[in-house]
Amino acid sequence: MTNDKKIIIVEDDEDINNLLAYNLGKEGFTVEQVFDGVSAIQRIKEDVFNLIILDIMLPGINGFDICRQIKDDPRYYRSFIVVISAKCREQDKLYAHLLGADCYLTKPFNLANLLSAVKEICASLDKEYVVENG
């Protein structure tokens, strides 16, 4: 059961957002797309997502702020954050990890890597369910 996971893509660049949605869709995932920080926060509050694919440099509220929001939300204790950013300095990566990011891919990222990361995360989510259910 890989396609019951709730995935949201937060990316202001329309083309990159669409690229991710297309490829994840092809893999059988249902994804939600948002294009700015404010709507991302709104959607995160309204709903609970298993995986958040997050850009950092967003107009308005940036990716770090969204990370902090997710970290402070107890409903998200089992969720994963994959950061995709052009920021490639080690300190940005470290900062993102401290704020709860599980994976950090620098732009331009390798699409295959991203997809395998997403698949891995979803598989691990399934495993945890199995353990819990068993």
Binding site: D12, D13, E14, D15, I16, L19, L20, Y22, N23, F35, D36, M57, P59, I84, A86, K87, C88, T106, K107, P108, F109, N110, L111, A112
Partner: protein, 589 residues
């Protein structure tokens, strides 16, 4: 009472003259008195001897009192002396000063001192006050001898008034002479004192000028004596001092000039943190006046406890301290504060604080850092799309006929965007490094604008924007035509892109004193006031998403600014949000 030196000099001359003349007069007077008395005595003795010899020749006359009386009166009148003849018993036989009848009544003269001496065979002399005549009298008595036997005494008496008369005349002459001499001496000593005092007064006048700090005066003294030497020494001293002062003040001026022309702010304090001096840069930085703060405590003048603490620490530890401090004056400023303690014989006597305003350096650093981050972001974003879509196509999307063409178009769009971005970056980098060489020519502005407008015609039409220009014919500028074209293209492109449907874009010019102002006015959405100061910064976008959507690189206005400034012009914008903007640039004539 203050007696001037001149008067002292005159008085001492007069005193000396008076004393010396007084001595001379005194001894002269004494001598004269003695001499004249001696002379009178001698002549009296001679006269007495003469009379005695007359009498002693005929001793019997002593018994003839009538004859004696007559004789004494005759001779007495002739020698102007009183003649008294006394017998050995002391009885007065005859007296020229008394009438014959009264002679018998005269008292006995035997015990008169001069008579006693005469009876002893000597010459008796006596000056005595005569109770008979009420004057000082000189008495002279000699014995009348007959064969060595005293048969009587002859006494001559002369009133001393005549002697005194002579002496009085002499004394009068001496006293008049003395006063005349003193008068003359006063005049001469005045002249002499004046001549002596003159140079001293000149020295006093000039040295009082020296005392007032005016060393430009000199004492004119040609003599070679002590005063001349004193004047020469004073002149030399004044000259030396004047030279030293000039040297010191020149040095001070140099230091002052350096102190004040330094860009770094400098504060000098004493060991108790009282301000000794500050320079011009500090005045500007903290907006204070130098004259108001001398002697005040540091914190009274500059309310920055951090710097104050640094100063105290540097003086306390006697070590150099350097720290970056944020100053909150009118605007936030970052300053590098260096404090050095000042030593005098191993003792800290104060501090020198150098404040270097590094706000601009920090700002430029931030801009550079932001720029690098922006460039990487701007380059990586299209690259991500290109790479992602290429990988998608390779992974099988080529078969997806519905989307594959769309993906290729996206790739194409991003490749073009990258190309534009790289060109813009190269342009900027050339202009910033000032390597760019403009090929400046004189050209008509209206021709260039009409070409640009023509190029945007279809784009404007598509959006329904009315594009017009109004420029005087023959308006020429001296500039790089292709660069000015780039400026106009960027401004007009923005004006159309950010315009509303059925809006307008107008291009016109204003002629200012020494430059031409070209204005591109639009009826677009305008720029929020907070964004206006930053609108010409690289990658600064009011609306990032919209800019990217419209294909902007975020560098257009920055390029405009650089081109115009490299032509010695300036750029600016006036805008009202919701109503439109007026972008303008000036080019010198």
């Amino acid at each position: 009472m203050r007696i001037s030196f001149k008067l002292k000099l005159i008085l001492s001359y007069l005193f000396l003259i008076f004393i010396s003349l007084g001595f001379i007069a005194f001894f002269l007077d004494k001598n004269l008195e003695e001499k004249s008395l001696q002379e009178i005595k001698t002549s009296l003795i001679n006269e007495a001897r003469l009379i005695e010899s007359n009498i002693s020749a005929v001793p019997s006359v002593l018994n003839n009192s009538t004859y004696l009386d007559k004789l004494s009166k005759d001779l007495g009148l002739r020698i102007k002396s009183r003649i008294t003849i006394i017998n050995p018993e002391g009885k007065v036989l005859a007296d020229s000063g008394v009438s014959f009848q009264e002679t018998a009544n005269l008292e006995n003269h035997l015990y008169r001192p001069e008579v006693i001496k005469a009876f002893k065979g000597q010459i008796g002399q006596e000056i005595r006050y005569s109770s008979t005549l009420k004057i000082d009298m000189l008495y002279l008595a000699i014995p009348i001898k007959n064969n060595d036997i005293n048969i009587g005494v002859l006494r001559l008496a002369l009133p001393l008034t005549s002697v005194q008369k002579v002496l009085f005349v002499v004394r009068k002459t001496i006293i008049v002479g003395l006063f005349f001499t003193l008068g003359l001496a006063f005049v001469l000593s005045s002249i002499l004192a004046k001549a002596l005092i003159g140079p001293i007064n000149r020295i006093i006048y000039t040295s009082s000028k020296f005392a007032q700090g005016d060393f430009s005066h000199r004492i004119f003294q040609s003599s070679d004596d002590e005063i001349g030497k004193l004047a020469a020494t004073l002149n030399k001293m004044a000259q030396d001092i004047e030279e030293k002062i000039r040297e010191i003040s020149t040095k001070n001026q140099h230091l002052e000039a350096i102190f004040n022309s330094m860009i770094e702010g400098i504060i000098v304090t004493d060991s108790s943190s009282r301000i000794i001096s500050i320079n011009h840069a500090i005045e500007e930085l903290f907006d204070i006046k130098r004259t108001q703060m001398r002697g005040k405590f540091f914190l009274e003048v500059i309310r920055n406890s951090e710097i104050s603490e640094l100063i105290n620490n540097a003086m306390g530890s006697a070590k150099f301290i350097s720290k970056e401090v944020v100053l909150l004056i009118s605007a936030q400023k970052v300053a590098q504060v260096n404090v050095s303690p000042v030593f005098e014989q191993d003792k800290v006597i104060g501090s020198v604080t150098v404040i270097h305003d590094i706000t601009e350096i920090r700002r430029l650093e931030t801009i550079r850092r932001d720029f690098v981050a922006n460039v990487s972001h701007e380059l990586k974003t299209p690259l991500t799309s290109i790479k992602g879509f290429v990988e998608t196509l390779i992974e099988g999307a080529l078969e997806d006929k519905e989307n594959s063409l769309n993906f290729l178009e996206i790739i194409n769009k991003h490749v073009n965007r990258l190309d534009t971005l790289i060109n813009d970056l190269l342009d900027l980098s050339h202009m910033e490094s000032k390597e760019i060489v403009f090929s400046k020519n004189k050209f008509g502005l209206s021709g260039l604008v009409s070409e640009v407008v023509l190029g945007f015609k279809s784009q404007a039409k598509k959006k329904g924007v009315e594009l017009s220009f109004e420029l005087p014919q023959g308006l020429e500028i001296f500039a790089d035509k292709s660069k000015i074209e780039q400026v106009l293209v960027n401004l007009v492109n923005n004006a159309i892109k950010y315009n509303k449907e059925k809006g307008f874009v107008r291009i016109y010019s204003e002629q200012l004193a020494d430059k031409i102002k070209i204005i591109v006015e639009d009826s677009g959405s305008g720029i929020p006031i907070k964004d206006i100061p930053r609108i010409f910064e690289r990658f600064y976008r009011v609306d990032k998403a919209r800019s990217r959507e419209l294909g902007g690189t975020g560098l257009g206005l920055s390029i405009v600014k650089h081109i115009v400034e490299l032509h010695s012009g300036s750029v600016g914008v006036e805008s009202t949000e919701g109503l439109g903007s007026k972008f303008f640039f000036t080019i010198p004539r």
